[in-house]
């Protein structure tokens, strides 16, 4: 993070109006250090600036958000990506998460929540919108059958624990982390740990459903 304690943010979105809107709204809470509207300029910009957080539209001309992540993440693993989308199509969201984004929010999110999500991602936590939580629950819903899972080194990755499930269900119902912590009598930190663990499973699990979604986006 920068010396001011405010995360340095790069906006990648092909809608100029949306970018200026976000910049204006977030201006007080984060440093928006750059903007890009396409994949290639975005990669160049991120590699030059090395921001804390990249706010990344899932749908970008020229390869989509995951192309940006794929190009940058090996060189600069410290750059964190928060995916942003107007669409609710699970395959888009799962694909961008599996390529390495630390979270996903919808574009209808309020400014305060968006700022909060950026802070969280900058701190290394995962951010799930209620919709993403729903997708993940859906994808992990049934116990994995042998046919459903490709040979995996770590079968634990293919299932959610009941606690993780509980946390996701509450996120899906629109609870904030603080509310979840109160509801389940655990600390906010523990909630964050659970969500991060779910994110890890989401990225590493070989469940057929997840790999299929990813494969459809030519990612795997």
């Amino acid at each position: 993070m920068s010396g001011t304690g405010r995360p340095r943010v790069v906006l990648v979105d092909d809608h100029g109006l949306f970018r200026s809107g976000v910049r204006a709204e977030l201006g007080g809470q984060v440093d928006v250090v750059g903007e890009a509207e396409d994949v290639a300029p975005a990669i160049e910009l991120i590699e030059r600036l090395v921001p804390d957080v990249v706010l990344l539209d899932v749908h970008l001309p020229g390869g989509g958000g995951q192309a940006v992540i794929a190009a940058v993440k090996n060189e600069h693993p410290e750059v964190r990506f928060l995916a942003l989308s107007a669409s609710d199509a699970p395959e888009d969201v799962i694909a961008v998460i599996r390529s390495g984004a630390r979270g996903y929010v919808t574009k209808t999110i309020s400014t305060a929540d968006l700022a909060d999500a950026i802070m969280r991602v900058a701190d290394g936590d995962a951010v799930f919108s209620h919709r993403l939580a729903g997708f993940v629950l859906d994808a992990f819903a049934a116990a994995p059958s042998p046919a459903d899972v490709k040979p995996s080194f770590d079968p634990e990755l293919d299932q959610l624990t009941s606690r993780e499930r509980e946390v996701l269900r509450l996120i899906a119902q629109g609870y904030t982390y603080k509310e979840i912590a109160r509801e389940l009598y655990i600390s906010v930190k523990t909630v964050e740990t659970h969500v991060s663990s779910v994110l890890r499973k989401l990225q590493l699990s070989t469940r057929h459903q997840l790999t299929r979604w990813a494969a459809e986006r030519r990612l795997d």
């Binding site: 209620h130 919709r131 939580a133 729903g134 629950l137 859906d138 819903a141 049934a142 269900r169 899906a172 119902q173 629109g174 459903q209």
Partner: protein, 511 residues
């Protein structure tokens, strides 16, 4: 290992561990006998298996196999000392699960008696059933009424009282039982004169069966009704012939009349002597007398039953209609009052309501009921409707999906009502609707961060929560939890357990 070679055999052992070792047979008759032992994959060893060489050897027969069935949870020690027959006798007394005789509602064909006896005495249920059928054949059907009497008198496992205890207070049921029994007697009397064969032999015991069945039918708990229905329908038409047909369609009536007429004609034509007609005439007189004597009573019982059923149906219909009127018309009227200053909105609401009401009254499509194809689609329709009507955004998250049935329809209707309530009263800027179709239950959580309320302080005449949500869910076996406090928002959780068949259907469909 005991002194007596047999002791090892009769010592109870879990069947699963037998696979590798060849057991030591009781009377030194080795050979093929050693392979009779339980195959671990088989549920129980039937005593009538043909590969047995020593069938007459009863203690040995009972000593094996059934020891290994899953009802046997006794752990005896390794026995030494007493003569073989003592241990046989002891074992005979100690076999079974050691609990009092109870009907087994889990594993049943009719009343679960066979499974109950099997568990009680440590046999395989299949054995008991086969024995029962054989006994029933040899006793000319008299085992059947005993079966039904046992059904009536032996409590089901887990239930504290038998059906009979409840039936004692069911005077109308007793009247029905006596009525049915007497009706069947008359039919059998007639049948006996016309044809002195099977009906006469096997029919009379069923007079008792029918009476028992009538009592069980009226007093059995919900879960047993299904088994009853399966059992009674064939018996009803078979046992009573054309005498009493509840599902009397025209076809069955025609067939029955044709059969009776041709049978009668055939009898008369083959015998052709009037000697047959004289007892027939006597019987007809007796039957006519019985009908005159008991007919009004039978009619009254039948009428009472019909009236009772109609009254129940009417009450349910009225409750249903009140719920629907509340959900549609009253809601719209309230909305119109609130938006009185916006004539365009009022016209729109009135028109939509009119359309809905017409489709309900004249096309039979219920308002408030989702006409969507699946559970998730129904939830999204709630979202669309509430957003359009009340202008409050609804955030929907669905997990899994399942096809619609009556229960899911009721769940959706209740969820719609809960969402509308939240939109109308909570003042929240957004409502969250979470819908999850799991393997065991379907759940909808409606949550808002609005002003909340005290659930205990809701007046009884506020119909929304009480009838539309609680009543609706309760009628379909679901449950409702309301979490709310003033200033804290509200969360209504609706849970509908899934019927076994519905869950099985969608098990594959679950993406």
């Amino acid at each position: 290992m005991g002194i007596y070679p047999g002791a090892t055999l009769i010592r109870p052992r879990p069947g699963r561990r037998l696979s590798g070792k060849a057991p030591i047979p009781l009377r030194g008759n080795t050979g093929d006998d050693g392979h009779v032992q339980q195959d671990p994959g088989q549920p129980a060893w039937p005593p009538f298996r043909s590969d047995r060489s020593d069938r007459s050897d009863w203690p040995d027969r009972h000593g094996r196999g059934s020891r290994h069935d899953r009802h046997d949870r006794h752990a005896h020690g390794d026995w030494h000392g007493p003569p073989v027959w003592v241990s046989w006798a002891e074992r005979w007394l100690n076999r079974g699960d050691g609990k009092p005789l109870r009907r087994d509602p889990e594993d049943r064909i009719a009343g679960g008696i066979a499974a109950g006896i099997a568990a009680w005495r440590g046999f395989s249920p299949t054995t008991v059933r086969i024995v029962f059928v054989v006994v029933a054949l040899f006793t000319r059907g008299w085992a059947v009424p005993f079966y039904f009497a046992a059904w009536l008198l032996i409590p089901a496992r887990g239930a504290e009282a038998s059906i009979g205890t409840r039936a004692r207070h069911d005077s109308r049921g007793i009247a029905l039982a006596v009525g049915l029994a007497s009706l069947l007697s008359v039919v059998l009397l007639l049948a006996g004169v016309l044809n002195n064969g099977l009906i006469d032999t096997y029919g009379w015991p069923q007079v008792v069966s029918v009476a028992c069945l009538a009592l069980i039918w009226r007093n059995a708990p919900e879960g047993e009704q299904a088994a009853m229905r399966r059992l009674v329908e064939p018996l009803e038409s078979l046992g009573t012939g054309g005498g009493r047909m509840r599902h009397g369609t025209a076809i069955r009536l025609t067939v029955a009349v044709a059969l009776l007429a041709s049978g009668l004609g055939w009898l008369l034509s083959t015998h052709e002597n009037l000697a047959l007609l004289s007892p027939l005439g006597g019987v007809l007189l007796v039957a006519a007398g019985l009908v005159v004597l008991l007919g009004p009573w039978w009619l009254r019982i039948a009428r009472d039953l019909v009236l009772e059923r109609q009254a129940r149906a009417r009450a349910e219909e009225r409750a249903d209609m009140a719920t629907r009127v509340h959900d549609s018309v009253l809601q719209t009227l309230a909305l119109i009052q609130r938006r009185a200053d916006d004539p365009q909105q009022v016209v729109q609401l009135a028109r939509a309501q009119e359309r809905e009401l017409r489709s309900w009254l004249f096309e039979g499509r219920a308002p408030g009921e989702a006409d969507a194809a699946s559970f998730a689609a129904g939830v999204r329709q709630i979202q669309r409707d509430v957003e359009a009507r009340h202008g409050v955004p609804v955030e929907v998250v669905t997990v899994g999906d399942c096809p619609l049935d009556d229960d899911i329809g009721a769940l959706l209707a209740a969820a719609r009502e809960a969402t509308v309530n939240a939109a109308k009263w909570s003042g929240a800027s957004v409502i969250s609707l979470y819908a999850e179709a799991g393997p065991d239950a379907v759940e909808v959580a409606v949550r808002d961060r609005g002003k909340g309320f005290d659930p205990d302080a809701v007046p009884g005449d506020r119909k929304g929560l009480a009838e539309s949500i609680h009543g609706r869910m309760a009628r379909h076996g679901g449950s409702v939890t309301v979490n709310s406090a003033p200033g804290e928002g509200t969360k209504v959780t609706l849970t509908m357990p899934r019927s076994a068949t519905a869950a099985a259907q969608t098990g594959a469909g679950h993406r």
